[in-house]
């Protein structure tokens, strides 16, 4: 699931779309009006974003309002943080430091 989310935000155009609807939900055509590409292209992007759990649709008549889905971004945030996690990294770095010193002393045999 995190894979689809990351794949989704890969495409710059999709990130632009996310930025647009971040300030409030918009219809597919409203979104399309901000770009030079065709409506189907936008529709395809929205589908990818929806499948990734990053946007939600609200249907109203013939219109479909797209808005961002917070839970999806929470997952992404968590994923990035799993790399970032400060305390864990410090531990690893300390271990590396130690190993480096050990190797140095071994080379003095």
């Amino acid at each position: 699931m995190i894979d689809t989310a990351i794949h989704a935000i890969t495409e710059p155009r999709r990130r632009d779309i996310l930025h647009l609807i971040r300030d409030g939900e918009l219809t597919s055509s409203a979104i399309a009006s901000h770009f030079d590409i065709s409506a189907p292209a936008i529709s395809q992007h929205l589908k990818v974003l929806e499948a990734a759990g990053l946007v939600v649709v609200r249907r109203a008549g013939t219109k479909r309002f797209y808005g961002i889905r917070r839970e999806g971004f929470a997952e992404l945030k968590q994923y990035i943080e799993s790399f970032w996690d400060d305390s864990l990294l410090r531990l690893k770095e300390a271990a590396e430091e130690e190993e480096r010193r050990k190797h140095e002393s071994e080379s003095n045999d």
Copy 2:
């Protein structure tokens, strides 16, 4: 710059590489040994990750040790959070809610 970072973590293989070196720096060949793909392929991935500021190299003789670069992940984290930002989103949602109610009352004219 954030674009290159996002592009970099797009590729599943590169994320695998990041996971590997997250537990301590490794040489190019050590990384390659964990995968089915060729050494040059790994080298190319590492170059992308380095250009994105997500990894750093430490040269030691003919070997090159690759380790993760924290600052790069900090940027990524910030970017994701710029979407996520809780308080801002709540404001937007409140505004939408209001607009929706306004439209409903208008349709009762």
